[in-house]
Amino acid sequence: MRITQGTFSFLPDLTDDQVKAQVQYCLDNDWPISIEYTDDPHPRNVYWDMFGLPMFDIRDASGVMLELKACRERYPEHYIRISGYDRSPGRQTTALSFLVQRPTHEPGFRLDRQEASDRQVRYSTHSYATDAPAGERYGRSR
C-alpha cells in the first residue's frame, strides 16, 4: 500500500531533480530545511527523527542534497521526508513537507475493531510493519 502524505501527496514520487528544485524554492523563501526519517508509517506519527542538524544558513540546494544522499545511504529502507520551516509567522510553521524516499515494500495497514461497552465499536489502524521492533522493519536496515 503506497503511503502518501505532505505537500505533493497527489503526485507520483518526485525525481531527484524535482526534489532539488523544491528545496531550492524553500531556500529562496528563507525556509530552513530539515531531513527527517522514520520506520513507523502510522499517519498520526508526527514526530519523525531528524537526520543530522537542522540546516540553517544554506543558500544552495546542493548542500541539502548532499545530506539527503547521506541519509539515504544510512537508512535505505526508511521513509524520509523533507520539511521547510517558515519562521516569519513567529512560530515553528511547516511551510512545505514531502516524502523523498519510501521502503521498497510497504505492507500496509489492518483495521482493528475493539468492542467497548454498550455495543460501541472503536476502530484503529495498525501497520503490519510495526509488528517488528523499530530498526528491524522493512527488511534490511543496515
Partner: protein
C-alpha cells in the same frame, strides 16, 4: 539548465532548434558558427564588474590582470558550451597569497560576483572560514564541522583564510588532516557546486602546498598580491576617508605621508588595514580635540582631519626629528 543562457545572444536562439535547423532556415541572418564576441562580452556584464574593481581597488595590477584573464577564460568556456563544443568545466579553485591587508578577502568577494555573473556558481555568496570553523575539538567532531561549512558555501565561494593552520606537522594526531582530506574530496567531487579559495602568507602557503601536494594540483590559479607602495596607500587613505565623508587638508596629507613612511618600516605593518586603523585613531583624536576645544564650530571642521590629529601618533613619538632622514632611507 545550463547556467543562464542569454535569450538575446545569437548562439542561444539559433542553436536551440538544432534538428530542424537545416530544414527551416534560422530567422537570424547570421550563421550559427559566428559568435559576436563583443555582444557576448557586453551581455555578460563582466566589464562593469572589472571596472568596479579597477575603480575601488587601488594598485594590485598583477591581480587585476589575472582576474581579467580568468574572466575571459570563463566567458570563452561559456560560449563554447553554448556553441555545443566539448567543454570541461574549468577548474576554478584559487590560491591568494600575500601579506596581510593586501585585499585578498575583498578580491575574493568580487571574484564570487564575477563567477556568479558568468554562471559558474549559482548564488555568488562568500563564506569565510578559518581553522576554528573547520577543525573540531575531539575525535569525530571535525567531519561534521567541515561538512557544515561546506554545505553553507555550496553555490558560492568558500574562502579559507590562513589555510596553512589546517596542517600541523608537529602534531601527527592533529584533526586538521581530517579537514584537509574532506576539503580535497569536496574540491574534486563538488566542483560544480562550489569554488574554494585558499589564502595566506606566501612563504607559509608554499610550505603548506609542499606538504599537501593534493591541494596544489587541484588549484588552477595561484595569485600573488603585491604590497602597496606609499602613493597607493595614500590613495587608499583618501578613498576610505571620502567614503566616510572626512577629508585631509594639505598639511595633514603631508603628515599622513610621513606617518606612512615611518609606519611601513615598522614591524606588523598590515598595508591597507594599518591605514584604516591609523585613520580610525586619527578620527578619535579629532573628536576629542573638537570636544575639548568647545565653542562654535562649522560642519567643515567636523569633516577635516588636522595634521595634529595624525602627528600625535606613537609612530612620531619614538622617532625624534633627527632620526627621520635615516628612517626614510630605510623605507625606500
Amino acid at each position: 539548465m545550463t547556467g543562464t543562457p542569454d535569450p538575446t545572444s545569437p548562439s542561444a536562439t539559433t542553436s536551440a532548434p538544432s534538428p530542424a535547423a537545416h530544414v527551416v532556415p534560422p530567422r537570424v541572418a547570421r550563421p550559427t558558427n559566428q559568435i559576436d564576441l563583443g555582444a557576448a562580452y557586453r551581455d555578460s556584464q563582466i566589464q562593469e564588474l572589472l571596472d568596479e574593481i579597477d575603480r575601488d581597488l587601488v594598485g594590485l595590477v598583477p591581480v587585476k590582470t589575472r582576474i581579467r584573464d580568468i574572466a575571459s577564460l570563463l566567458l570563452i568556456a561559456k560560449l563554447r558550451e553554448n556553441a555545443g563544443l566539448a567543454t570541461d568545466r574549468p577548474t576554478l579553485h584559487m590560491s591568494f597569497t600575500g601579506r596581510p591587508g593586501t585585499g585578498k578577502t575583498t578580491v575574493a568577494m568580487r571574484m564570487a560576483k564575477i563567477l556568479h555573473r558568468l554562471g559558474f556558481v549559482r548564488k555568488g555568496h562568500l563564506v569565510v572560514a578559518t581553522r576554528d570553523d573547520l577543525v573540531g575539538q575531539y575525535v569525530g567532531h571535525t567531519a561534521p564541522k567541515t561538512k557544515e561549512v561546506v554545505k553553507r558555501a555550496m553555490g558560492g565561494v568558500l574562502f579559507i583564510d590562513e589555510a596553512y593552520y589546517l596542517y600541523r606537522p608537529e602534531n601527527e594526531r592533529d584533526y586538521g588532516q581530517e579537514a584537509i582530506e574532506m576539503l580535497l574530496q569536496v574540491m574534486e567531487n563538488q566542483r560544480d557546486d562550489l569554488v574554494v579559495i585558499l589564502a595566506g602568507y606566501k612563504d607559509r602557503m608554499d610550505t603548506f602546498y609542499g606538504s599537501n601536494p593534493g591541494f596544489h594540483s587541484r588549484i588552477a590559479h595561484h595569485i600573488d598580491f603585491p604590497d602597496y607602495d606609499r602613493t597607493e596607500l595614500m590613495t587608499i587613505a583618501e578613498l576610505l576617508l571620502a567614503g566616510q565623508q572626512y577629508r585631509l587638508d594639505a598639511e595633514s596629507r603631508r603628515a599622513l605621508d610621513e606617518y606612512l613612511e615611518r609606519r611601513m618600516v615598522q614591524p606588523h605593518f598590515a598595508n591597507a588595514r594599518s591605514v584604516r586603523n591609523a585613520l580610525d585613531r586619527a578620527k578619535l583624536r579629532q573628536a576629542s580635540r573638537l570636544i575639548s576645544g568647545g565653542g562654535i564650530i562649522t560642519a567643515e571642521e567636523l569633516t577635516r582631519i588636522d595634521a595634529a590629529d595624525i602627528r600625535q601618533s606613537r609612530v612620531f613619538l619614538d622617532a625624534p626629528d633627527s632620526a627621520r632622514g635615516a628612517a626614510s632611507d630605510d623605507g625606500r
